[in-house]
């Protein structure tokens, strides 16, 4: 181990990869002044947390400021809505400003449903420690009596997590206290409150999207998030949450027809959104009901105009819900696109087989793995036969009869 000697007498609980070396990268002081952000290890990009720790890990540490995360909604919009609320709640806790736009629910209602942060957990939590899983028994680490060889092996952790702590934990069973919520500064855009203006100057664009883009631009310029403007005294992050873009409630017909009239309305809007975000201190999460959009090529161009893209596929209502293979999970998560920003090589996830589940209090993303097969019957018999056949082929003919009783 390449650890310096003086760090060896520290209690092992405080070990983190950062303590192993005294060499520290010089960081720019300018970018560190905003609470709730940190620079990326890879390219120095300023990151904010998405509110879900495992999602942060998946996206390479967090959401880069100036980018758009696209979430393809699951069929009932229950889990995508949850991630959306996590993202906003993290903004409230970090005292970022919010911009919430919706066509279906009033943004006020969305804000009232935000999950409650587990704040006392933050105080206790040490940076090197793995996040505590609620279902994990913590006191079973006694010395093993039989399988003592395995005692020192690290615990298998299927939940994705990084070693250092970033973001907060939330209890989805409770809603956030009103006093925390009211401390946050936020802007709203509720589509029914903005009647169409019947100007019709931009042919490929819809009035609803133009009004949304204009309202967002006004907030960015007024509140000093614009990077091209002269620096205000203190900088903050604007978190933009746009709910269910492309649905019929926005006046869009992408979801209704095979050949929609406004094919380019949403893509043009996303192009404008990207242009707006790249020059400002803001980060956006956009959800799109992709299962309603028939045209896959259109969905591809929507994805390419966002930076990150993930898709949620819930088991609810599908035959997979009753499949024993998936009994531990609530759905699958597909990574459609990873951002490529200010660097040649982008962060790629280790696997693409990912699943999510909603525990009693917490939403997590895990590697998909099959449950251990504890039944005595089906698969083992076939494995035994396979092993027998293999040994027979290797001309160990005397051992074939006894090999049937072995599992390996």
């Amino acid at each position: 181990m390449a650890a310096p000697v003086k760090s060896m007498d520290k209690p092992p609980a405080e070990f983190s990869p950062l303590n192993f070396t005294s060499f520290q990268k010089k960081s720019r002081t300018k970018s560190l002044s905003i609470p709730g952000t940190r620079p990326s290890v890879q390219n120095g990009q300023l990151l904010v947390s998405s509110g879900v720790t495992s999602l942060d890990y998946l996206l390479g540490g967090g959401l880069a400021v100036g980018t758009v995360l696209l979430i393809e909604e699951d069929r009932y919009d229950s889990f995508s809505r949850m991630i959306f609320k996590y993202f906003l709640a993290e903004g409230v806790v970090c005292r970022h400003e919010l911009f919430v736009a919706a066509a279906q629910d009033d943004p006020d209602d969305i804000l009232q449903e935000l999950p409650a942060p587990i704040l006392d957990d933050v105080a206790i939590h040490r940076p090197g420690e793995q996040p505590r899983m609620s279902c994990e028994p913590q006191d079973t680490l006694d010395a093993m009596k039989i399988a003592w060889r395995y005692q020192n092996l690290p615990k298998v952790q299927s939940a994705l997590a990084s070693s250092s702590r970033f973001g907060h934990y939330y209890d989805v069973s409770k809603t956030m206290e009103p006093e925390i919520r009211q401390a946050a500064k936020w802007h709203r855009f509720y589509h029914p409150e903005h009647p169409p203006l019947s100007s019709g100057t931009h042919s490929p664009k819809l009035e609803s999207y133009s009004a949304l883009l204009k309202s967002l631009r006004d907030v960015i310029q007024r509140e000093g998030f614009d990077l091209t403007a002269p620096l205000p005294k203190s900088r903050n992050i604007l978190r933009v949450g746009l709910h269910s873009l492309g649905s019929a409630l926005w006046g869009d017909d992408l979801c209704c027809y095979n050949n929609p009239k406004n094919v380019h309305a949403l893509t043009s809007f996303l192009y404008g959104l990207r242009a707006l975000l790249r020059t400002s201190l803001s980060v956006a999460v956009v959800t799109v009901p992709s299962h309603l959009i028939q045209d896959r090529a259109l969905m591809g161009s929507i994805t390419r105009l966002c930076d990150n893209a993930i898709a949620l596929e819930s088991f609810k209502g599908s035959e997979r819900e009753t499949n024993p293979l998936y009994k531990d999970y609530h759905g699958l998560l597909h990574v459609r696109q990873v951002p490529r920003l200010n660097c040649l090589a982008s962060h790629l996830p280790d696997h693409k087989d990912l699943a999510f589940k909603l525990k009693r209090k917490q939403f997590t993303i895990e590697r998909l793995h099959l449950p251990p097969d504890l039944s005595e019957t089906v698969s083992r018999v076939s494995k035994g036969e396979l092993a027998g056949a293999a040994t027979a082929a290797a001309a160990c003919s005397s051992a074939t009869s006894s090999a049937k009783h072995l599992d390996f």
Binding site: H202, P204, K205, T267, S268, T279, R296, S301, L305, L344
Partner: protein, 275 residues
């Protein structure tokens, strides 16, 4: 600039074939690293470069180019590089404000169905002035080069496929034929290969049209066997018939991995991860 790629293409900044139209395309992968390559390649070759960046900001290209050893701001100051930042200019069209009228080049966004005439006029003015007059400028640059990232985003903005093909043909005539320069364009295709048939009016059709116009195609795609962390995809190099020696150059396929400061190319199945 990736030296491995130069040796595959048998070219170098000192000697490259003028008058070529190079098409970069990708499917289920990302070919934007090739744009970075050609940008730094032509800047090192002392060409006059006109870069139409539609999907990324200047700061992105600047940050990456710096890692590849080229400074875009210096090139811009010297007059070698003309950079059109599509994102920034589009904003003044989408959200018009009183004080700035916006760049003329992106004014096609007001009425995308009408075609890309304004963008072509921008390209023409920036490449022609370099080769024609401009004797007062201190340095003389080589043949003009037009680089465009992600032409297919124009389709998302409402431009017809035919208009983009017309635009590329005009650019090819001006830059490649008249001025003996090069054109490099990137086009991105959606998902699943060729499974949907002729009714697909979109990026597929655009790619076929541009492939027909091009002299050299670099087609990047994901691995057919699925996602792998150590091999990011494969590149297919297709040359069209060359006039000089009159023989077909063979089609080559390489797998690649993108690193922080470069890309390594290797023959299929010879990745370090599997050997």
């Amino acid at each position: 600039m990736f030296t491995e790629l130069n040796s595959i293409l048998n070219t170098s900044p000192e000697s490259f074939t003028p008058g070529e139209f190079i098409l970069l395309s990708d499917r289920q992968s990302d070919a934007s690293f090739l744009i970075h390559h050609f940008l730094s390649f032509y800047l090192k070759a002392r060409c006059k470069v006109c870069f139409v960046a539609l999907v990324q900001s200047f700061s992105h290209y600047h940050a990456v180019s710096q890692r590849l050893g080229v400074s875009l701001t210096q090139a811009k100051e010297k007059g070698q590089l003309i950079f059109l930042e599509g994102l920034k200019e589009s904003l003044s069209v989408f959200l018009p404000q009183e004080e700035n009228a916006g760049h003329q080049a992106m004014s096609f966004l007001r009425d995308p169905a009408a075609g890309l005439r304004s963008l072509y006029e921008f390209v023409q003015s920036s490449v022609v002035e370099s080769s024609g007059g401009g004797g007062a400028s201190a340095e003389q640059w080589g043949p003009p080069v037009l680089l465009m990232d992600d032409v297919s985003v124009l389709l998302s903005l409402g431009v017809r496929v035919g208009a983009v093909l017309d635009f590329s043909h005009y650019c090819r005539t001006t830059v490649c034929s008249q001025l003996q320069g090069n054109v490099v364009m990137l086009v991105r295709c959606d998902g699943e290969a060729e499974e949907d048939d002729a009714d697909d009016e979109g990026s597929e059709q655009l790619m076929r049209g541009l492939t027909h116009q091009s002299c050299l195609t670099l087609h990047v795609q994901g691995l057919p066997t699925g996602y792998c962390r150590d091999i990011h995809g494969q590149v297919e190099f297709c040359w069209k018939k060359r006039q000089s020696d009159g023989q077909h150059a063979p089609k080559k396929v390489f797998q690649f991995k993108v690193h922080d400061k470069g890309v390594s190319f290797f023959a299929r199945g010879t990745s370090r991860a599997v050997l």
